[in-house]
C-alpha cells in the first residue's frame, strides 16, 4: 500500500471515528440543548465528596450541558432542615437533595422522592449512555424502594475505619516501651481491651514527652447528635448491639424488659468503654463532631481513632491540611469476641457503612435537568478523581482505576479494605423515625458523657424514653 493510500485510509478512518465519537460525547450537549440556561439547585452536607461536586463536577456539568448548578454545601443539621422543609412545604427550591443513608427510609415513607428508575424509563431521551445502575456497588440497595427502583443516585459511600498512627506504632522506642509495659507487641487493637491499653499508653507517652498526643479520638460532642451516632453506629455494634438496640420485629422494643437491647449488659459495656476513652482523648473531644474528629487525627493529636472514611484520603495524603501524611494506618475496628463471626454470617456488623445519594424531590421544578445531573455524576469517567479526593466509591469499576489503585497504596489500603471488608459494615437501620427517637434520647445520652449520669443509668432511661417516643409516634403498640 502506497504512502498516499495509507494516508487517505487513515484520514477516512479518523473521519469515521470522529463521526462516531461525538454521538456519545455529545449526549450531554444534545440532552442539555432544550434545558440550556436552566438552573438546578441542590443542597448537601459540606464534606470532601460534596465539595468535589460543588467545585468540580457542577461546573463541568454546566460546561457540558449549559445547565447551571447552584450547589449549597452546608452543615449536617442545616442540610436536613432545609431539604425537609422544602419537600414538606412543596416549595421546589431544591431540584436535588442529599439523602443520607439513614434518612432515606423517612423520605420514602413520606413519598418525598421521584422514582429515578421510572423517571428515566418514561423519558428515554434523558437516559445517558454511560449511566449503568448495574455498576453501582451494593450500597445502592439502600436507596431502592420495595420494587427495586432507585430513588437516589449514590454519590458517596465509605466505611468508618480504625485509623492509627503507623509511624508511632513502628517507632522502636515506642514499641519497646509498650512491650515492657504490657508484655506484648504493639499492634492495631483487635479488641476493646487492647484498644484501651494502647490509648492509655499513648496518653501517658504524650505527657512524658511533653507533646500534644492522646490515646484516642472520641466523637463525643455534648450538644450534637454526632456523639449519639458514634455510639450507636460504630461502638455498640462492636459489642454486638445492633440497630440502636431496638428490635423492630418485636414491637420496636428497646428495653431488655420488653425484648430490646438498648440497655442490655453489652450496651452498657459499650457505653462504659466509650465514655471511659474520654480520659485518653484530647480536650476538644467533647466538642467534636465527625469533622473535628478527622481534624484532630489530621493534626496528629491522637494515636488512634474511629474516623469516617471520607476523610481518610486527605488525612493520609494532603500535606496542606494534614500533619500525618504518610503516617496513617488503616484497620478494622476492635470488636468483642464473636462479633466478626456474626458479621461474616450476616447476622451482625462491625461498624458503619456510611454515605448518601442525591435524590430528586417531587417538588422539584427542573426534574429533567436534575436527572441529567445525577447521571452525569454517576458516570464511570468522573469517578476516579472523585474517589481520590473524597475517599468514596459508589461504582464497582472505580476500584480498578489506576488513580484509585495508586491512592490506595498511599492510604495504607483503605480502598482495598472497603472493597474486601465492606460487607462487614452496615448502614443505619431502616427506621423512618431516626430524628424523632434520637432527639428524645440524646439529652440523656449527653448526660452520660458529662458524667451527670452513669452509662448504666443513662441507658436505662434511654430505653424507657425511646419506647415512650415510639409509642407516641405510633410504631410501638
Amino acid at each position: 500500500m502506497s504512502g498516499l493510500k495509507r494516508m487517505m485510509l487513515g484520514a477516512i478512518a479518523a473521519g469515521l471515528m470522529a463521526g462516531v465519537a461525538p454521538a456519545k460525547a455529545d449526549f450531554w450537549s444534545d440532552a442539555g440543548k432544550e434545558l440550556a440556561g436552566a438552573t438546578i439547585r441542590g443542597v448537601s452536607e459540606s464534606t470532601p465528596p460534596s465539595n468535589y461536586v460543588k467545585n468540580v463536577l457542577g461546573p463541568a456539568f454546566t460546561q457540558a450541558t449549559g445547565i447551571n448548578v447552584e450547589f449549597e454545601a452546608t452543615s449536617w443539621d442545616q442540610m436536613y432542615d432545609k431539604a425537609i422543609k422544602d419537600m414538606e412545604a412543596n416549595t421546589g427550591i431544591y431540584d436535588f437533595v442529599y439523602i443520607e443513608q439513614d434518612a432515606v427510609y423517612g423520605y420514602l415513607a413520606r413519598d418525598f422522592l421521584v422514582d429515578i428508575t421510572k423517571f428515566l424509563a418514561d423519558n428515554p431521551k434523558l437516559k445517558a449512555p454511560d449511566y449503568d445502575p448495574a455498576n453501582f456497588t451494593t450500597f445502592a440497595n439502600y436507596f431502592k424502594g420495595k420494587d427495586g427502583d432507585l430513588f437516589g443516585v449514590p454519590m458517596e459511600a465509605f466505611i468508618k475505619v480504625y485509623l492509627y498512627r503507623k509511624d508511632l506504632f513502628a517507632d522502636p522506642e515506642v514499641t519497646a516501651a509498650f512491650k515492657v509495659k504490657y508484655n506484648r507487641d504493639l499492634a492495631p487493637a483487635k479488641n476493646h481491651a487492647e484498644y484501651v491499653e494502647i490509648a492509655d499508653f499513648f496518653t501517658q507517652w504524650g505527657k512524658d514527652k511533653g507533646i500534644e498526643l492522646w490515646g484516642s479520638t472520641v466523637q463525643a460532642n455534648t450538644g450534637h447528635p454526632s456523639s449519639w451516632y458514634e455510639y450507636v453506629e460504630s461502638v455498640a455494634p462492636t459489642f454486638g448491639v445492633y440497630n440502636w438496640g431496638i428490635d423492630a420485629s418485636n414491637n420496636f422494643a428497646a428495653s431488655v424488659e420488653h425484648g430490646g437491647k438498648m440497655n442490655s449488659p453489652e450496651a452498657k459495656a459499650a457505653l462504659e468503654f466509650w465514655v471511659g476513652l474520654l480520659k485518653n482523648a484530647p480536650p476538644e473531644s467533647t466538642a467534636s463532631t465527625w469533622d473535628e474528629v478527622a481534624a484532630t487525627f489530621g493534626a496528629g493529636r491522637a494515636a488512634q481513632g474511629l474516623v469516617y472514611g471520607e476523610n481518610a484520603a486527605w488525612i493520609a495524603t494532603d500535606e496542606s491540611k494534614s500533619k500525618v501524611v504518610g503516617k496513617v494506618g488503616v484497620a478494622l475496628p476492635p470488636v468483642e469476641p464473636g462479633v466478626i463471626e456474626a458479621a461474616e454470617a450476616g447476622t451482625g456488623y462491625i461498624g458503619y457503612y456510611d454515605g448518601g445519594a442525591f435524590g430528586i424531590p417531587h417538588s422539584s421544578k427542573n426534574k429533567a435537568a436534575a436527572a441529567l445531573f445525577l447521571q452525569y455524576i454517576a458516570q464511570p469517567s468522573v469517578q476516579a478523581d472523585w474517589a481520590v479526593a473524597g475517599s468514596r466509591i459508589t461504582l464497582q469499576s472505580t476500584y480498578d482505576d489506576p488513580k484509585v489503585v495508586a491512592q490506595d497504596a498511599k492510604t495504607d489500603g483503605y480502598y482495598t479494605l472497603m472493597r474486601d471488608q465492606g460487607k462487614l459494615f452496615a448502614g443505619a437501620p431502616p427506621y423512618p423515625f431516626h430524628n424523632q427517637v434520637r432527639e428524645a434520647v440524646a439529652p440523656i445520652f449527653y448526660q452520660a458523657i458529662t458524667g451527670e449520669l452513669t452509662p448504666s443509668d443513662a441507658l436505662d432511661q434511654m430505653a424507657t424514653t425511646a419506647e415512650a417516643e415510639l409509642t407516641k409516634l405510633g410504631y410501638r403498640k
Partner: protein, 293 residues
Amino acid sequence: MRSQTVGWLFLAPTILILFVFGVWPFVYVTVISFFDWNSFAADPTMRFAGVQNYRALVFDKGFLMALWNTLKFGVFAVTSQVILGYLLAQLFMKNFPLKGLFRTVHTLPLMIAPVAVGATWRLMTVPGLGPIPYCLDKWFGYEFLISRYVGQAFMTTVVMDIWHWTPLVTLTLLAALSSMPKEPFEQAQIDGANRVQTFWYVTLPMLKPAILSAVFIRLMDAMRTVDEVWMLTGGGPGSATRYIGLYIWRVVFPKTDYGYGSAMSLITLYLTIVMCWLLYAGLVARRDLKRPE
C-alpha cells in the same frame, strides 16, 4: 368620609403585614397546638388531641428544665446588663480622653448578628484552638471546657449575652440620663443628700421607666434566645444550656413534633407576658396604687 377612606388606605399595608406575619401565624400555631401532628409518625396526619399537648407539658422534664435554665439565664444576664449598662452610662456622662472612640467600640457588638457572636465565642472557647481556655490554663492552671462542664457552659452563655447586649442598655440609660433635669439633683444637694441617697431617691426613680424598658426588652429577648447559644454550645453539655427557644426549635424541626412544639411556644409566650406583667405590677403599678395616699 373621604379622609377616613384615605386613612384606611394608608393603614392598609401595615394591617396586611400585621395580619400575614402576626395574626395569621399566631392563629395557625394556636390551632396546631390542639392537634397531634408529627409528619414522621406512623400516622402522619393531623389528629385532634384536645388539650393533651398542654397537659403533657406539665410532665415534660425537658421542658421544665429548659424553662428553669432560661429563667436563670435571663435573671443573671439581664441583671448584669442593667448594672453594667448603668455604670457605663454614668461613665459616658463624664468627659475623658478618647471617649468617642471608646463609646463607638463599646457599641460595636450590637451590630453583630447573633449567629456571628455565637461563632466568635465558640472559636474563642474551643479547646486546643481558643485563646480563653489556653490563657486560663497557662496563667491559672484552670481547665476551661464548656463542652464538658455544665457550670462553665452556662456562665459562658451568660457572659456572651452580657457582652452582646450591655451596649443596648447603656445607650438606653445614657439617653435617659442625658435628658434628666438638673433641678432635682440641685435640690437634693441643698437638702444635704449624700451620693447614695441622691441615687436612690432621685436618679433611680427618674431612671425607672428607661430601666424597665431595657429590662422588658432584654428579658423578652432572653426568653427567645436561640442562635447565639446554638452556635456556642448546641444546648449542651447535656441540657445545661438548652434554653426554651432552643428546646422548642428542636421539638419542632429535627423532631417534627409540630403540635407539641406549638403548644410549647404558646405557653412560653404566655409565661413571658405574665412575667413582664408581674414585673410591671411589682415595680410600677404598686407605686401608682400607693400614690393617692
